[in-house]
């Protein structure tokens, strides 16, 4: 076991350090962004959070907005898992590991966004239960710490277990991972619910203090997440030769079509409730949609987000449009960006405008915030790239423990025991593509 774990590590490192020119260019690109972000972060540590454009009136900005969005992305990995394990959807079964690896990468980004946001990162240990002084169960933030780290551990365990058994050429023992898969399903919903409760529990912020918030969070996450998965899976298919079937992508497209429509509906319900009664609590919503007191900064953002969401929803439900892969991919991109704007700038920021005592102050991220945020995204992309680079050859049966039998993704997950490589045919030459 230990020896094979050691070999597993060696092989993973070997996979990661070998690749085409394009692969290394991509890595260099990401590392470049990360380096820029590290410089920006050191600057922020030195100056203090005044390097950002956050204020007492706008205590959270781009970092927490990104964090909120990414928690949803991580939760959305479950949209692959639910059909695969509960409805035994064979097509999605094969890509579940890729989705969960994405969840691992995205969760790491979430934690990074929290770390760059806090004023005293040196005191992060105060958050560790037992060592620190954890305000559980009262503080929703303490719940968030638990569920996010728990979800990270769960996903890391499930993917690690599946990939490692695959590497050893064994069939995974259902008892050792299926219970965790079901736990992860509930857990995924809980991470985004808890994150939504961070906001909706704030009596001080009428814009967030609404029951619709958690459902809206989930709907938007389950729209943006699978959209990102569609893009990621089609790239993985093209660049890494992983056998992703059109049927799997189509299943994701069906999911997104429904969730995006629900998301738009929830948003519309919220807008109606706030604006029709025209209560003072609607000031934030008016600021967001139409501007307030001569402040219009968020107006272009939110309307482009609504346009992007609506466009993607239209594509997802129109056969003539979604059957064109390029259009579908553009629509998925639109959904990812649309939800990002809607949940970041569109949900977090207007909660602070007007401030509890009526001040209207605009917020745009500073250059430092932009660099650090970009670097965290680059770090997430880097982690996902490396995880895929190590995992895909194992999943394809190309890299395995010496002497272990090779299993194709299909037999591996379903235990059908068909002949290996039987179905991998339709993908372009795998490793050579890089």
């Amino acid at each position: 076991m230990i020896a094979s774990l050691y070999r597993f590590g060696i092989d993973a490192v070997r996979s990661v350090t070998r690749g085409s020119r394009a692969y290394f260019l991509w890595l260099a690109f990401l590392v470049g962004w990360i380096a820029l972000g590290v410089v920006a972060y050191v600057h922020q540590l030195h100056v203090g959070l005044a390097a950002t454009n956050m204020l007492d009136q706008i205590p959270w900005g781009a970092y927490i907005a990104n964090f909120t969005y990414l928690v949803g992305m991580a939760a959305a990995a479950v949209m692959l898992v639910i059909p695969a394990y509960i409805y035994d959807d064979h097509e999605l079964h094969e890509v579940v590991v890729l989705g969960e690896l994405l969840a691992v990468a995205v969760l790491t980004m979430c934690l990074m966004f929290v770390m760059v946001d806090i004023g005293r990162p040196d005191r992060f240990w105060h958050l560790i239960p037992v060592l620190g002084r954890f305000n559980w169960p009262i503080s929703m933030l303490s719940w968030d710490v638990i569920v996010l780290n728990g979800y990270l551990v769960l996903n890391a365990y499930i993917t690690g277990y599946l990939i490692f058994t695959k590497y050893r050429g064994q069939r995974p023992d259902r008892k050792k991972y299926v219970p965790f898969v079901f736990l992860a399903i509930v857990w995924a919903i809980s991470i985004h619910t808890v994150t939504a409760f961070l906001y909706s529990g704030m009596g001080a912020r009428p814009h967030w203090n609404a029951a619709i918030l958690a459902p809206r969070f989930l709907a938007s996450a389950f729209a943006a997440g699978p959209s990102l998965m569609i893009i990621a899976l089609s790239i993985i298919r093209d660049k890494m030769g992983y056998p992703v079937k059109d049927k799997a992508l189509n299943r994701l497209r069906q999911i997104v079509a429904v969730t995006m429509l629900i998301n738009l509906f929830f948003f519309f319900s919220e807008i109606f409730t706030e604006l029709y009664s025209f209560k003072h609590h609607a000031a934030s919503m008016r600021y967001l949609l139409f501007g307030l007191d001569g402040h219009y900064k968020l107006v272009p953002y939110i309307w482009s987000a609504i346009a992007l969401d609506a466009f993607s929803a239209l594509v997802f439900i129109t056969p003539r449009l979604y059957k064109n892969w390029n259009v579908l991919r553009v629509a998925c991109g639109a959904a990812v960006v649309g939800v990002w704007v809607e949940k970041g700038m569109g949900l977090v920021i207007p909660g602070f405008v007007p401030s509890p005592l009526g001040e209207v102050i605009d917020y745009t991220p500073s250059f430092t915030e932009f660099c650090v945020s970009a670097a965290v995204w680059a770090a997430g992309a880097l982690i996902y790239t490396l995880l895929l680079k190590a995992a895909v050859p194992i999943e394809l049966g190309k890299v395995r423990l010496p002497g272990a039998p090779a299993l194709s993704p299909e037999d591996y997950h379903q235990g059908h025991g068909r002949d290996e490589h039987a179905d991998v045919g339709h993908s372009p030459a795998p490793e050579a593509a890089e």
Partner: protein, 320 residues
């Protein structure tokens, strides 16, 4: 009031309580702390490259939560902070830690009929509590309200007038309401802020991680974050400091009004109250049926801000 009177009051023997160190629940995590010491020193060294002179020392890095500190540890920490202040600014300060008084619950009341918006309280508070001017931190924010309206969206804190009060306006100073059901305390993930038995909500500046969730949770815009390292000219430093109130703070942590607990727990009235030229501010012990504050609450039509949020503020407003 003249400066001399202030210092004379300070020197009054009754002003200092003999027992200033509180001893609370005692932690037994020394073993871990010792172990972690070496690692921490390394971390601190790494952090120092990024943070310059404001990097935490090993002691600061490992310092336990206020409620875990023994009396001796507190004594040592206070002495060290006093030394550091002396080395940095040349000012001799005295850090105390007056405990909450038995049977005392504070309340504050503000007479909006007489407040003229002069902001004397704001500046007195800044001097008393060692608040920096650049970038500015102020615990009290005075809003110029439209007569007949309680709507903050129609108010402004940025007014400037030669002749106060302005026509058809009234003035609403807002500071920490020391809620009995404080949403900020609920929000804090590490219990760095809590409600004391006398009702004052305090922050352990040495435990706060700077996540600003409390700032988000506060409906009264009462919490302030140190976006940079605060800097106060030596001649402005108030040497009479409380560990949980106006001692030196540092960047990356949250702070707030503490009803001047380093004064009030020794029986004195808060600085903002004494600075008020119109006598609009009233403070006292809610549990004393004969106190002025009780009479106000019993006989005047007092109200609190945002009552619907069930925060149960200890800060009352009234018109009289």
């Amino acid at each position: 009031m003249a400066k001399d009177t202030e210092t004379a009051l300070d020197a009054q023997p009754g002003g200092d309580s003999p027992l200033e160190i509180r001893e609370d629940e005692h932690g037994t995590r020394r073993a871990f702390l010792k172990l972690a010491g070496a690692a921490a020193a390394a971390t601190a060294a790494v952090a120092a490259t990024g943070c310059g002179s404001t990097a935490p020392t090993t002691e600061e890095f490992l310092r336990q939560h206020y409620k875990k500190l023994s009396a001796e540890e507190k004594q040592r920490i206070f002495a060290r902070i006093e030394e550091e202040t002396k080395a940095r600014t040349g000012v001799t300060t005295h850090i105390s830690d007056p405990p909450p008084l038995d049977g005392v619950e504070y309340a504050y009341a503000l007479n909006l009929s007489v407040c003229n918006g002069s902001r004397r309280c704001v500046e007195a508070c800044a001097r008393e509590n060692n608040l920096p001017d650049d970038p500015e931190i102020r615990y009290i924010r005075v809003f110029e309200m439209e007569a007949g309206s309680l709507e903050f969206e129609e108010a402004t804190p940025y007014y400037a007038h030669e002749n106060l009060p302005a026509k058809d306006k009234y003035y609403m100073p807002v500071q920490c309401h020391q809620c009995d059901n404080p949403p900020c305390v609920k929000a804090c993930p590490v219990q760095a802020t809590w409600k004391e038995p006398d009702g004052i909500v305090v922050v352990d500046y040495s435990w706060c991680i700077g996540c600003r969730f409390c700032v988000v949770a506060c409906p009264y815009f009462a919490r302030r974050f140190n976006w940079v390292q605060p800097d106060i000219p030596p001649d402005r430093i108030n040497p009479n400091q409380g560990y949980l109130s106006n001692r030196p703070r540092f960047k990356g942590v949250v702070e707030k009004c503490t009803f001047c607990l380093h004064r009030t727990r020794k029986g004195r009235l808060p600085a903002c109250l004494e600075a008020c030229p119109t006598g609009a501010r009233k403070f006292g012990n809610l549990n004393d049926p004969n106190s002025e504050i009780r009479k106000i609450i019993e006989t005047k039509r007092v109200f609190v801000l945002k009552e619907d949020l069930a925060t149960l503020p200890r800060f009352y407003y009234f018109f009289a």
